[in-house]
């Protein structure tokens, strides 16, 4: 399939062959028909999966195999980074098999990840009309509702999803985030602990736990979880990118708690690696202000204010403070 036109032709051909085929016609066993393709897929050889599932090959398949073939083809395109083709395949499949929950929710998932949430949501709703307890559909709606601010609705769908999908840390994390947005930090902390049971040493999850603990007033527990998040980030290459954020967050908390020396030390540890980090500069300026050193504060604020391209809000705050100090424009 090289484009929308050929995809449409393939759809027509497959549609007619699929519908024309009598349900009772003998078919080769499922494993035999797609065993080779499945093996290629399992070996992550997605290019060859696409190469094997050509129009003539797919026309030979019976209905059950055809569903699976569409799924393998769609997933292969997806993993090859060809999202538009994956969407095309799943759209055709969903038209041919409108009551197939797997295909419908898979299409909805891809649309959701492409941020086409209006279309995704409609599909999730239709999946729930077929199977009111479908966990994937509840999860999709929960995520869309969370992103759009419909928090109560999001929480409801997460809770329904968790009745079906209990062992996915991602679901517990999303649920915790909604609870935190609704300022139910105690329940959010419980949910995030569930995520940690399933995915221990996950630095972002530990950071979330630290934040929820702090919002409950459990400062020491918050610091301990933040330290655990830092250790996890140091140990894991996949979470290296949040390491500076963890240090900045710790510096911010130490500052809020009046531990100025510790806060300064933490902020400066970030500045050693990122000398123009506006938040670290701003924190150091706040500490200097508290200590009455307005010149030092102004110097750091000048540096932070110059970062308006990378951090417009931080720069605007720094400029506003400089103006109050009498040194800004």
């Amino acid at each position: 399939m090289n484009g929308p036109a050929s995809a449409a032709l393939l759809a027509l051909a497959l549609s007619s062959s699929a519908h024309a085929a009598p349900e009772t016609a003998p078919r080769p066993p499922v494993q035999d028909a797609l065993a080779g393709v499945q093996l290629l897929f399992d070996q992550q050889d997605y290019g060859r999966v696409v190469g094997r599932l050509t129009e003539p090959e797919m026309q030979k398949l019976g209905r059950q195999d055809l569903r699976r073939a569409y799924d393998l083809l769609g997933q292969s395109y997806q993993r090859l980074g060809q999202q538009d083709r994956a969407i095309g395949v799943y759209q055709l499949a969903a038209q041919l098999f409108p009551k197939d929950l797997n295909l419908t929710t898979h299409l909805a998932d891809i649309l959701h990840h492409q941020e086409l949430d209006d279309q995704a949501r409609a599909l999730y709703e239709s999946a729930l009309a077929i199977h009111p307890n479908n966990g994937s559909a509840h999860l999709g709606i929960a995520e869309i509702a969370r992103a759009t601010g419909l928090l109560e609705q999001s929480q409801e769908h997460y809770e329904k999803c968790l009745l079906e999908i209990k062992t996915d840390a991602r679901v517990w994390r999303g649920y915790a985030e909604v609870l935190a947005k609704r300022r139910n930090y105690s329940k959010a902390a419980d949910a995030i602990r569930k995520a940690l049971e399933l995915d221990p040493d996950n630095a972002p999850t530990l950071q979330s736990l630290a934040q929820f603990q702090r919002r409950q007033g459990k400062r020491e527990e918050g610091y301990a979880s933040l330290a655990a998040a830092t250790a996890a980030a140091d140990a894991s290459p996949r979470h290296q990118d949040i390491r500076p954020e963890l240090s900045l967050r710790k510096a911010s908390w130490l500052f809020e708690d009046g531990r100025l020396d510790d806060s300064l030390q933490e902020a400066e540890s970030v500045l050693l690696r990122f000398p123009n980090d506006p938040f670290a500069l701003w924190l150091r300026a706040r500490i200097a202000l508290k200590r009455g050193d307005e010149n030092a504060a102004a110097a750091d604020l000048e540096a932070a204010a110059s970062q308006s391209r990378s951090s417009p809000f931080a720069a605007a705050v720094a400029k506003g403070m400089l103006k109050e100090l009498g040194g800004g424009q």
């Binding site: 949430d117 759009t148 938040f279 605007a316 705050v317």
Partner: protein
Amino acid sequence: MAAALLLVFAGASGLRSEEPVSDRLMREQLWREVSSMPADERPKVGLVLSAGSVRGLAHIGVIQALDDAGFPVDVVTGTSIGAIVGSLYAGGMPASKLWALNKDISLGTNFNKFRLLELILYDKLLSSKKLETWLKEQIGDLQFDKMPKRFACVAMDLKTGEQIIFREGPVAIAVRASMNLPGFFEPVEYRHRYLVDGAVVDYIPVDAARLLGAEWVLASVTEFDYARANPTNVMGTLLQIFDIRGSILAREQRKLANVVVEPAVGDIAIEHIHRGPEAMVKGVVAMTRKLPETEESLILHTLPRLMKHWRAP
């Protein structure tokens, strides 16, 4: 409701764009500081709710999103549907209960097809008295100075064309006057005035919020996209003229607000009462998307006061 929800998520993707860590951390920290300031130390926050008939139900969604985020509101003003929603909110009704009232609000305005038929057949202006009664049932027979949040609403004197800002006396009759669409509802006679819908003179009552002492103002605006409408009857044409007049007034008023949030409800016309739930959802979506910018604006506005605390004595 589910059907309405399906329609409103286009473009919601803007929510997920990555923002710099420094900006996010700074907003988080400063928002904690601003939102925990005693109310008399931070700037007085005004929430202004525009006119806009059924579209104005989006204000409920805006309030819901603000409430979820713990955003402080000290002063509320509204015109027409904005006056109804604003009076309920300022009168102490929680956002969750407002959300459930959408159907009642539509009934409360008496604006249904049967009443319109009465208007057309008998050439008799409708009474809006039922709204006054309904409002009293919801929040009691409150006086302006007894409301949990300071509140004002706007009407127009049909005899003088004056803008009348109500901020004292009984609330219900003032709100009724504020949403009293001229040509449909009979004018409200009150305090020697002949009062009709304030949208004709003050579509987005930012000035009323300033009058109540608001130092920083968020305006929720639900204008009609009249460029897309082709009215084919007398009523539709008349309503479109109101909307055009309102939009012209809104241009000046919106400049006076610090932040303007505009739910995407421009295609909902006055007769689309069934689209109320959709408007509410769009209010949530719009305010949620606008929340970071709104918080940042209030933080920057509060900065001079914060600096007084931050500098060494």
